[in-house]
Symmetry: C2
Subunit: 161 residues, 2 copies
């Protein structure tokens, strides 16, 4: 969802700043991550990366997301379903996730005062705030339309939201 240009993607730049070698594969994965505005799991990242360059293996995707997570460039999410999902770390404001318990859809929302609140909590407990994870689960309020689909717990091929 960002610059489709030929220049380095935002995440590729971060990789360089962190002293990582920019191989072809890594550059492609970085671009996929930079362009994503959802929360793809490894399988989905692999699919998207493969579409751009077929010389990429899943192992590399796993190694890359792991590395980027360690560097703080990526954040891992768990929305249930057993697979880790990733999204780029944001610089300033964070956003959180509301998961529709009926269909697993993820809605992002912001809450500016939230992080400040958590910083204070951390401080009160004697910690420096590093990051946070907030997931809200809700049921769509039945005001206007469609009946909720059964809460399918085993979405094998959900890909991303």
């Amino acid at each position: 969802m960002k610059s489709q240009s030929a220049e380095e993607s935002r995440i590729a730049q971060l990789c360089v700043e962190h002293g990582l070698k920019m191989t072809g594969q890594r550059r492609v994965i970085a671009r996929v991550l930079s362009d994503a505005d959802d929360h793809p799991d490894v399988e989905e990242l692999y699919r998207r990366a493969s579409a751009l360059d077929s010389r990429i293996s899943v192992a590399t995707v796993y190694r890359t997301v792991r590395l980027l997570e360690e560097k703080g460039i990526l954040e891992r999410r768990d929305f249930g379903g057993g697979r880790a999902r990733y999204e780029a770390t944001e610089g300033g404001r964070h956003h959180y996730h509301l998961i529709d318990v009926d269909n697993g859809k993820v809605i992002e929302f912001e809450d500016p005062e939230h992080e400040e609140l958590m910083r204070r909590v951390a401080e009160r407990l004697g910690f420096d705030f590093v990051s946070m994870r907030l997931e809200l689960f809700g049921k769509k309020r039945p005001q206007s339309q469609k009946a909720a689909k059964p809460a399918t717990r085993s979405s094998k091929k959900g890909s991303a939201e």
Copy 2:
């Protein structure tokens, strides 16, 4: 959290209320869960349950926690490390978790106004609040000795907390 008596554990009672058969194994697992004041993973639950009754298999533990989670009796947590951890759903106030990024220790904290805040967020987005998950990651502040010591307990490396 601690009725070591011969009567049904709190969770066992909930099982009955939900129409589940109370087999010997299930009763033991229910007791282990009722007595736990940490966040055991399946392996740890299996260990504790086995100590009370050796005729229990891991498969049953997996099946049980899954069932109880579906019934809303248990909540699954993900503190990183790849394994799901469980804790009993609380009736009234909720507590949240602060994870020490340096050693993985988990500290519980409360924040009464928090749930109300989240209820309002959900409402604003057109949802009814179902539940939430909040994990805060922090680094222990080295400086001020007077920093409030966490009034909660923490854990060990391997199995639970």
